[in-house]
Subunit: 96 residues, 5 copies
């Protein structure tokens, strides 16, 4: 899973019907310091997340299980709304 932030939504009336009923959330992956890292993706929401919230998202087959639709075209899903990130900055810097 990864840390992400919801920064927008996508509207598509002509789409696979198994995507109907889901909010399609534009989710920007973040590094541990809150900076954008890599692509923004489109994830289906399964926990009632809103704009600007920090979330946990999952990808691949895991996303279809999160949406309880194992045979659907879903490949990314939001599975948690983050309350807190506890980071040990010292560990981040220390070289092995």
């Amino acid at each position: 899973m990864k840390i992400g932030k919801i920064i927008g939504t996508v509207v598509a009336t002509r789409k696979d019907e198994r995507l109907t009923g889901y909010k399609l959330m534009i989710t920007q992956a973040l590094d541990v310091k809150g900076q954008p890292e890599g692509d923004a993706i489109i994830a289906v929401d399964t926990v009632g997340a809103g704009m600007g919230e920090l979330v946990i998202f999952t990808t691949g087959t895991a996303a279809r299980y999160a949406a309880d639709k194992p045979q659907s075209p879903i490949d990314a899903a939001i599975v948690g709304i983050i309350d807190n990130i506890d980071l040990d900055e010292d560990l981040l810097r220390r070289r092995e």
Copy 2:
């Protein structure tokens, strides 16, 4: 899933027969600001998308379900034609 733009097609007469009947669309992944990001891929179209359209595409096993061919060599599929992208630019910039 990701945001993409259809920028071309590929023609291959000698191919796996389970790809026959699909338009093989060259799809460029875009970032949220509409700029090309990462590779262009070849995706099968499942929603009647056309050249230049902004689409939603999915990859991996999800793509085989999108094409209703779970046991095929498909690993990318177009699953939606985008009407609108609602982006909160402020959220994009704000640091966590």
Copy 3:
């Protein structure tokens, strides 16, 4: 799927027996302008492709289905020989 070019072969006598009988083709992924992009991979050939040919290759579970060996160690397969790439250069440049 991706566009690739066959640039070599790999010979390995000591290998998983389920790879026996396949040509192991070194396939360089290309961008839409024919430039090398990202890693070269080793793909099994399923359509009779030859050195220097432009091909379509697929990865992951899709590759095992392409080789009709769903329970094998194959994770990349060549599934088409490209006749033609129709690219709309204008669409490539135009910003959304």
Copy 4:
């Protein structure tokens, strides 16, 4: 699998129930010289790993099997605590 270091934890009360009961560990992938490489991810712990420990983590379907929850939204899991890394620096440098 990859080498990683546990540098933090994530707390999310509103999450998919199948993630309940797991410590959600922020795991930074490392290169063989102990430097951060690529994204930090969120992995479920399955071997009792603690902050700052060097671990082995796995991703995708493998992670769901590691957690013995094949139909869950898990896509990354910690599956070993590293005692020792034996690296042949000479091999690393030598060109093929």
Copy 5:
């Protein structure tokens, strides 16, 4: 699959029991010219490969099949020991 070189091993006594019995080989992915490319990974050995050998490795579900453990936390496996790489340098340079 990819070309890799075995540059080390990892020892972890506290690990998922389904990893027991395998040599955990640190495998550096190489480009076609023998240069390190991308991350080094930890792969289970299934063909008796040794330090410094050039190998073929596979990832994802393919790796679990290579190890004949489809329900294990394995996501990378060595599946061949390379005798020879036949590369057409001319093809590598020529632009499509």
